[in-house]
C-alpha cells in the first residue's frame, strides 16, 4: 500500500508540474497536428497506398513525441539536485522508477489519444473500427517504450555512466515493440481483426513489456546510487 502511494506520489508530482495549466494539453494537440502536417509533405497523403503505411506513420508520430517527453524525464530532477533529495528519501528505487514511468506513460498516452482522431480526419482513415484491440495495442506498446525510455533517462543522468553511449543502445532497443505495434496497427486500421498468424506480434509485445519492466525494476537501485 505505502509502496503504491509512493509510486503515485512521484507520478503525481511529474504530472502536476507538466500539466499545471491546460496549455500543455493545447500544446500536445497542436504538436500532433504539426507532425501530421509535416508527414503530409513527405508522403502523398491522398494516394491509396497510404492505408498500407498508416500504422507506420502513426507510430512514428508517437515515437517522436515520446522521445521529446522521455528525454526530459530524469533531466528534470537534475536542476536543484532534486534527484539527491529523492534518492535520500526512504522511497525504494523501484517505486521511484515506476512513478516516473507512470508519469511519462500518462503524458504519452494523452498525446497519442489526441493525435488519433486528428490523424483520422486529416488522412481520411476510419481508425475506430477495431477500437478496443487498437487501444490494447496502444497501451501495451506505450508502456514498453516508456519503461525503456525512463530507464535510459535515469542512466544518462548519472555521471558515471554518461559516457557509455547508452542512447545509442537504447533507442534501437525500442524497435521490437514499435515494429510489432506498426504491424498490428496497420491491420487494425484496415478494419480486420488480427489474423491467427499475426498473433505472435501481440505475444512479442507482451513479452517485451514484462522482460524490460522486470529488468528495469531490478536494476534501477544500482543505477541511482553513485
Amino acid at each position: 500500500m505505502l509502496y503504491l502511494r509512493q509510486v503515485w506520489t512521484v507520478a503525481g508530482k511529474d504530472l502536476r508540474s507538466e500539466l499545471r495549466t491546460k496549455e500543455s494539453l493545447n500544446a500536445a494537440i497542436s504538436f500532433a497536428i504539426v507532425i501530421l502536417v509535416l508527414f503530409s509533405f513527405a508522403v502523398d497523403p491522398s494516394a491509396d497506398q497510404i492505408k498500407e503505411i498508416s500504422g507506420g506513420l502513426l507510430w512514428l508520430v508517437f515515437a517522436f513525441a515520446g522521445a521529446l517527453i522521455l528525454n526530459r524525464s530524469f533531466a528534470r530532477e537534475l536542476g536543484n539536485d532534486c534527484l539527491d533529495a529523492l534518492v535520500s528519501s526512504p522511497i525504494p528505487g523501484s517505486a521511484l522508477f515506476l512513478g516516473k514511468a507512470l508519469g511519462n506513460f500518462v503524458l504519452l498516452t494523452i498525446v497519442e489519444l489526441v493525435s488519433l482522431p486528428i490523424f483520422g480526419v486529416l488522412y481520411n482513415t476510419q481508425w475506430a473500427r477495431q477500437l478496443w484491440m487498437l487501444m490494447t495495442i496502444l497501451l501495451l506498446t506505450t508502456w514498453g517504450v516508456t519503461v525503456i525510455g525512463t530507464m535510459f533517462s535515469a542512466l544518462t543522468v548519472n555521471l558515471r555512466l554518461r559516457e557509455l553511449m547508452l542512447p545509442t543502445l537504447i533507442y534501437p532497443m525500442m524497435i521490437p515493440a514499435l515494429m510489432s505495434a506498426m504491424r498490428l496497427t496497420t491491420l487494425l486500421i484496415a478494419g480486420e481483426p488480427i489474423p491467427a498468424g499475426d498473433e505472435i506480434w501481440i505475444r512479442l509485445l507482451i513479452g517485451f513489456d514484462i522482460i524490460f519492466t522486470a529488468l528495469a525494476v531490478g536494476l534501477v537501485e544500482v543505477v541511482l546510487v553513485g
Binding site: Q6, G79, C82, D84, A85, L86, S88, S89, P90
Partner: protein, 232 residues
C-alpha cells in the same frame, strides 16, 4: 549507541583520493561541525553518510544499520548544496510531496507547520522559481526538518540566510538536539556553527586530522583549529 560509525572509508574520484581512511563515530545527541578548507572532502563525506555515494573501501553504519536501509533513510534529514526542491512546484506542494514520500500521517499539517516555522507561510502558494535565494534555502531547511529526523546531515546550511533566518535555523537545530537528535553539519561560517557544535572534526585534503570536543579556543577565535592543525 553511536548515531554514525565511520570505519576506514576511502573514496576515489578517478584516481584522486577525496577521502583517505576516515574513521570516527558520533554518539546520539551530539552536534558535530565538520570543518575543512575548500575541496577538503566535507561534501563527499556527508554524501556517503546520506547514502548518496558508495565508498570504495570501508564501511559506514547509521543508527546501527546500513546507510541505504529504508528505516535509516526515513530517519535522516539532508540538506545538500542543491536545495532539493522543485522550481515548478509551489512551496507547499514541495513539502507535501516529501511529506508523502516520507510516509507522514498528515503531510498537510506538517507542511503548513514547517512553512510557518520558516516564515514562508505567506508565500506557500508561490512557485519556488520566484523565490529569492534565501527563501529557497529556508524551504530546503523546512524539507529537511519535515519528518522530525533523528539524524540531520547539513551541508553549509547557513548559506545565504539573513541574520534572522540564521537565528531561526540555530533554534531549530537546538530543539532537534534537545529531543535527542544528532546533527552533523559542514560549514565555513564558523562563528554561527560554534554556537551549537559541541564536537568538531577537521578534514585536510581528505584526511581526518582532528576529531573531538570543540576546543575552548575556538569560541573566541573560530579559525584557531585551522591554524593549529591545518596547513598554514
Amino acid at each position: 549507541m553511536s548515531a554514525v560509525a565511520v570505519e576506514g572509508i576511502w573514496k576515489y574520484y578517478g584516481d584522486y583520493p577525496a577521502l583517505r581512511n576516515i574513521e570516527f563515530s558520533v554518539r546520539e545527541g551530539q552536534c558535530l561541525a565538520l570543518l575543512g578548507r575548500n575541496g577538503a572532502g566535507k561534501t563527499t563525506l556527508l554524501r556517503i553518510m546520506a547514502g548518496l555515494l558508495r565508498p570504495q573501501r570501508g564501511e559506514i553504519r547509521i543508527l546501527d544499520k546500513d546507510s541505504r536501509h529504508p528505516q535509516t533513510r526515513a530517519s535522516i534529514g539532508v540538506i545538500g548544496h542543491g536545495i532539493g526542491v522543485y522550481d515548478e512546484l509551489s512551496a507547499l506542494e514541495n513539502l507535501l510531496l516529501f511529506g508523502r514520500l516520507y510516509g507522514l500521517n498528515d503531510p498537510h499539517a506538517a507542511a503548513m507547520e514547517w512553512l510557518r516555522r520558516t516564515s514562508l507561510d505567506n508565500v506557500a502558494g508561490s512557485l519556488v522559481r520566484e523565490f529569492s535565494r534565501g527563501m529557497r534555502q529556508r524551504l530546503a531547511v523546512a524539507r529537511a526538518f519535515l519528518h522530525n529526523p533523528s539524524l540531520l546531515l547539513l551541508d553549509e546550511p547557513f548559506t545565504s540566510l539573513d541574520d534572522r533566518a540564521i537565528a531561526l535555523l540555530q533554534s531549530l537545530m537546538q530543539s532537534a538536539l534537545e529531543r535527542g537528535a544528532t546533527v552533523i553539519m559542514s560549514t565555513h561560517q564558523l562563528r554561527e556553527a560554534m554556537q551549537l557544535a559541541t564536537y568538531v572534526a577537521l578534514l585536510v585534503r581528505g584526511k581526518l586530522i582532528f576529531h573531538g570536543e570543540r576546543p575552548a579556543e575556538m569560541l573566541q577565535d573560530p579559525t584557531w583549529l585551522y591554524r593549529t592543525y591545518g596547513e598554514s
